[in-house]
Amino acid sequence: MLQAFNDYVVQVFQASKVHYGLLTIAVMAVMGTAIATLTEMVLRALGFKGEILKH
């Protein structure tokens, strides 16, 4: 799977640098949002809500 992802990345990079730039932004944004949501759900399930203001 990792090899397939790497092959895809190389193909996009060789086809168009602009597309590679956009792919980078998109992958980082989607991954960031997905992991943030998932981790938040896990933290809340563990009781770490964290909405405690101190200012």
């Binding site: 640098k17 792919l23 980082m28 992991i35």
Partner: protein
Amino acid sequence: MLHLPIADTYTSAWALLLLGFTVGVLGGFFGIGGAFMVTPALNIFGFPMAYAVGTDIAHIFGKSIVSTFKHALLRHVCWIYGILIGLTGMLGVSLGKQLIMYLERIGRVDTYVRVVYILLLVSIGGYMIWEYIRWSRNKDRREEGAHHEETSRLALFFQKVRLWPMIPSPLTGIRMSFWVLVGLGVFTGWVSGFLGVGGGFVRVPMMVYLLGFPTVVAVGTDLLAIVISGSWGAYTYATAGRVELMAACVMLLGAAVGAQLGALATAFVQGMRIRLLFAVTVLLAAVGVILKQYKLSLVAGVLMLGSATALTAIVMALFMAGYVARRRALAAARAAMVPETAGESGGR
């Protein structure tokens, strides 16, 4: 081992994951990208320098989304200020790059950049440590409130500037002139462009000392600004073929979890303590740059990596201690309420 197809080299996936987690915690806690720690570390792990910078910037963009998400939930993000400072910061970056090109033409770029970098890091770090010592010596202020933070004179001065339009910050109750915010954004962007760094270590103290933001709000708002500038940085480095997407993804996996924990930790640690740890981080970065000046890049990289790991351990320990203390306080409060309730029902 992970194959990096564009740079055509190999690196350890576990090392990337761990590095991502470490800088994720520090990034979420301090509101910094952590480029000054990650870039030398990636270089040690076998990345050519240009790929280290590009891959780091791409992962910083993803990580900042995670940290901003968490800080937004904690209500630490002043959206309008963050967007304004992030956008105007991009103009500042261009100005900083222009100066770099000029210095390159006259052949003085390396010396000037390093001298400015060291002076800036030492003065910011030194001032913050001095401020912390002053605060910790003042027993009355310490006891006044666990989270008390003093507004600087500079911030009070800038808050009095009444140049239209005034931009309110509902979160902090501060009203700042649009032009002060533009000036701050352009200046911090200029520093980023001139030094080739994300700029978090300049923006956070600036927001604290010039705008009068509480430390946690400065951290959250700065992260939003990093999302804006980081997206552009990641795009430009990727189009130049200097981003290893697979490596950036692996780092982001670790960083996303770390960033959530780091951001959450700010809710359990005193603002002044965050400032102290931030100052230590900045001073360590200064030591790293000084070592590089004397051609000790490997030592500097190892120092950065070691100190990042140590700081992460300290942040996690403070987080756990704060969490346990709060749980105990809540349990004690509940226990105190139970006899009262029992007494009331017995009376009836």
